[in-house]
Structure formats: C-alpha cells, structure tokens
C-alpha cells in the first residue's frame, strides 16, 4: 500500500487497516493524532511523563483497536482521548497525588477582573499555569473544565468524595486567580 494513500484515506478505512496491523496505517493514525493527544497529556503531566504517556497511550490504542468500532467522525479522536486520559490518570496514581478535602463552604468565584487577562494569554501561557497547579487539583480541574465531567463522575474515577472533588476545583481556581493577578499586576 502506498504511504500517500494511507495518509489520505478516511478514518474508517484507517481503523480497518490498523486492525490488520498495517504499519503504514498505524503511522498515519499516529501522525494525525500525536500532537492533539500530546496536548491532552501535557495538561495532566509534566513534559517527560507526558511523552511517556503518549507512547503508552498509542501502544494501548494499537493493542486494543480490534475492540474499537468506528461510529463516524470524531469517534476515533474521542476514543483516543479517553485512552490518553486513562493513561495519564494511571501515571498520576503511581505518583499518589494528594487530594485535600475542604469541608467549609466554597464561595463562587467572580471572574470579571480576570477576563481581560485571560484574553491576552496564549495557549502556552495557559498551559504553563495549568501545569503549575498541584497534581490533585490540576487533575480535577482538567476533568471538570476540559473533559466536561461532573463532580460525581470525577469522584468515581479518582476514588475520592464529591466534596473533595469540589474543593480541589475550588483550590485550582484560587491558584489560577492568584497567578492571573500576579500577571495582571506585572502587565499593569
């Protein structure tokens, strides 16, 4: 099979060829999704861990692709993202992140003053601020904001209580607010 044909083929065929262990199809799949998946890993882990996790994720993908059924555009990306997030969480579990639970009432964050600062920030700056968060609250923040999970789901996934999930999100927001304030003061 010609490499350019593999590159241009639709995802359904790409998946089919990957199921047949076609090396060109595997590379085409990697070329398409390596960068977006690395971005996902970088939100959860620091650089070196993210690199390792990306590799583990693709290994897991090629190993288990026979069980994947293609359900239209976006389904492959969603499946891959799920694998990557699971791999990230597995790696984080080995590091045993500390999830501190705060039982006191959590105030709702006013976002108004920060909005102008956010608008000026690019992806690299946002990523560096997310990466600067402690493991526990960064994980909950990612799952809540980027993956769109609810606290119940996050609690089940991380084996923590819903209260801990809420407090971790609160703490993540507080820390981000602090860094944004420092940035805005620096800009002003």
């Amino acid at each position: 099979m010609r490499a350019d044909l593999v590159t241009n083929m639709d995802e359904a065929r790409l998946v089919r060829y990957c199921k047949e262990n076609n090396a060109l199809a595997q590379k085409a799949l990697y070329n398409t999704y390596a960068e977006p998946m690395m971005l996902v890993c970088l939100r959860y882990l620091e650089r070196e861990d993210a690199r390792e996790t990306l590799m583990d994720g693709f290994l897991s993908c090629f190993k288990n692709i026979s069980a994947f059924s293609y359900r239209g555009e976006g389904s492959l990306k969603a499946w891959l993202k799920k694998i990557m997030i699971n791999q990230c969480l597995m790696r984080l579990r080995k590091k045993q992140p500390v999830f501190i639970s705060h039982t006191d009432d959590l105030p709702v964050e006013p976002a108004s003053t920060m909005e102008s600062v956010w608008d000026t920030m690019n992806a690299k700056e946002i990523m560096s601020r997310i990466q600067a968060l402690p493991d526990g609250c960064r994980t909950v923040f990612n799952l809540y904001v980027f993956e769109g999970m609810g606290h119940k789901e996050i609690a089940g996934l991380l084996e923590i209580t819903e209260g801990t999930s809420k407090s971790q999100l609160h703490r993540a927001r507080q820390l981000l607010k602090e860094t944004l304030l420092q940035t805005s003061q620096h800009i002003l």
Binding site: A34, P36, L39, L59, A111, M121, A123, I126
Partner: protein, 257 residues
C-alpha cells in the same frame, strides 16, 4: 457550570497547536521510539505462541513416553523419527532369529499401474515377488541380514530397493536357498525410508509396534494379512500429515500402504 473565563480557556486550548506549547516536540523521533516499543510486543506475542506450542509438544511427548514406558517397560521403542509410533501390535516376546526358507534377489522394475488405492492390489497381484508402493512418496527399503555358516565368521548382507509412488518394484533380499544347507540367514534390521523427507522407520529385533523379523515374515509371505510398520510424520511435500505405513499381503502380493 463553567464560567465564561474557563470556557474561553478551553476553546483556546482546543484550537492550540502543539508547536505553540511544545515547539521542540519531535513527532518523527517519537514515532521511532513508539515503533521500537511495538516490535518487542509483537516478538513477545510470537515467543509466547512458540513457548506454548513447545510446552504442549513436550507435554504430549512426555505423557506418551511415560505411558509407553509403563506399558512396555521390557521392550525397546521403535526408532521412528521425529515422533514415536503409536502402538499397533504389542509383542509379548521376541522371536528368536529364524532361518529364511525362501528369498530372491531382484532389482527395481517400472510401474505397472498408476491408479491409486483400488487398483494397487490388482497391480501388485500382476507381478509376482514384487512390492507395490501405494503411498504418494518414493520409499526405500533396506534389509540387513546376517548369514551364519559353521566354521565361518557371520557375514552381514545389506539389500536396498527403491519403489516409486503408486508403482510396483521388486524387493531385494538374500534368498535362503542360495546360502547352502548348513548355513542360516536371519534378519537384523529393516529400514523403511521416505526418500522425499528423509524420515526413517527403523525396525529391529526389539522394535515396536513390530519387529524386523515379524515384518520379514509378511515380506516372505510366511504370514498373511497386514501389519503396521510405523508412522511417517510428514508427507513427501513436508506438510505435517501423519500417516501409518502398513505392509499388506492379504491379496497375494506385498503392498506398502
């Protein structure tokens, strides 16, 4: 509910390219690392399959040998390469070397019939003192005999015959008549070789499922019927198909089938 600020953060990150965040990410180098990691995985899987097959073979062979040793501890096992022969006939005692009353020396002869199974007995019957090779492979038979005469050293006589598949050929061995009244002939070994694969069924005085002497009785028509000489593990095309090799003189002439 995600605040607008976080929604915008999410959108920014979703639209971002990795080059902005990690410009030194080398996709090709990472792919090389990944493909290196994928290779041992495939190798491990292949190794696992081979280890399983080897383990299974060892278990089967070991089990069979244990059973065989238990059942026939006093007998030597027939040398049939590479997998031993299942027992077809069990001999309680080995016959002593017996004199051969009838023998003849002949050489290979062209085919009489190309028709397979159903015609082969007819073809064998048509030529007296011949052996018909009903197998799909050329077969070589080597009969090793020992001649003993009074006041003389025993003399070994080796006769070799090759018979083409689905053809008749004549079988070579020493005739008793030719050795004189006071001498005797005994069969030491019969080697049946599949020429294409090199597999050998070696029969001797203590071999199983049958001894060389017993097979010789069928060859000389001293006994009527058929006997399992051994098992070839491969066909001539080296495909792994076990098949029994029998000698049959039921119809009058000797047939390898």
């Amino acid at each position: 509910m995600i605040p607008d600020m976080e929604q915008r953060m999410k959108e920014t990150m979703e639209q971002a390219s990795l080059k902005e965040v990690m410009p030194d990410f080398d996709k090709e180098a990472e792919w090389q690392r990944l493909s290196q990691a994928m290779r041992p995985q495939a190798r491990r899987m292949r190794m696992r399959t081979w280890a399983f097959a080897a383990g299974l073979a060892v278990l089967i062979t070991g089990g069979w040998m244990a059973w065989r040793l238990q059942s026939h501890s006093t007998h030597e096992v027939a040398r049939v390469a590479p997998i031993p022969v299942p027992i077809a006939t069990v001999k309680d005692s080995m016959p002593s070397d017996t004199a051969i009353h009838k023998s003849f020396v002949v050489v290979s002869e062209p085919a009489v019939s190309n028709k397979a199974q159903k015609n082969r007995h007819k073809a064998a019957r048509a030529t007296a003192s011949v052996i018909f090779n009903g197998t799909p492979c050329p077969i070589e038979l080597r009969i090793s005999q020992m001649m003993r005469c009074p006041n003389n050293q025993p003399k070994a006589i080796l006769s070799t015959s090759t018979v083409e598949p689905e053809q008749s050929g004549q079988l070579t061995y020493k005739e008793n008549k030719s050795v004189g009244r006071h001498c005797s002939l005994t069969v030491k070994e019969i080697e049946i070789r599949s020429v294409a694969t090199g597999e050998v069924i070696m029969l001797n005085a203590r071999s199983l499922p049958v001894s060389a002497q017993e097979v010789f009785r069928y060859i000389t028509h001293e006994k009527k019927g058929d006997v399992l000489a051994g098992v070839f593990n491969y066909d001539c095309d080296r495909k792994n198909r076990r098949h029994n090799l029998r000698l049959n003189n039921r119809e009058g002439n000797l047939v390898l089938e």
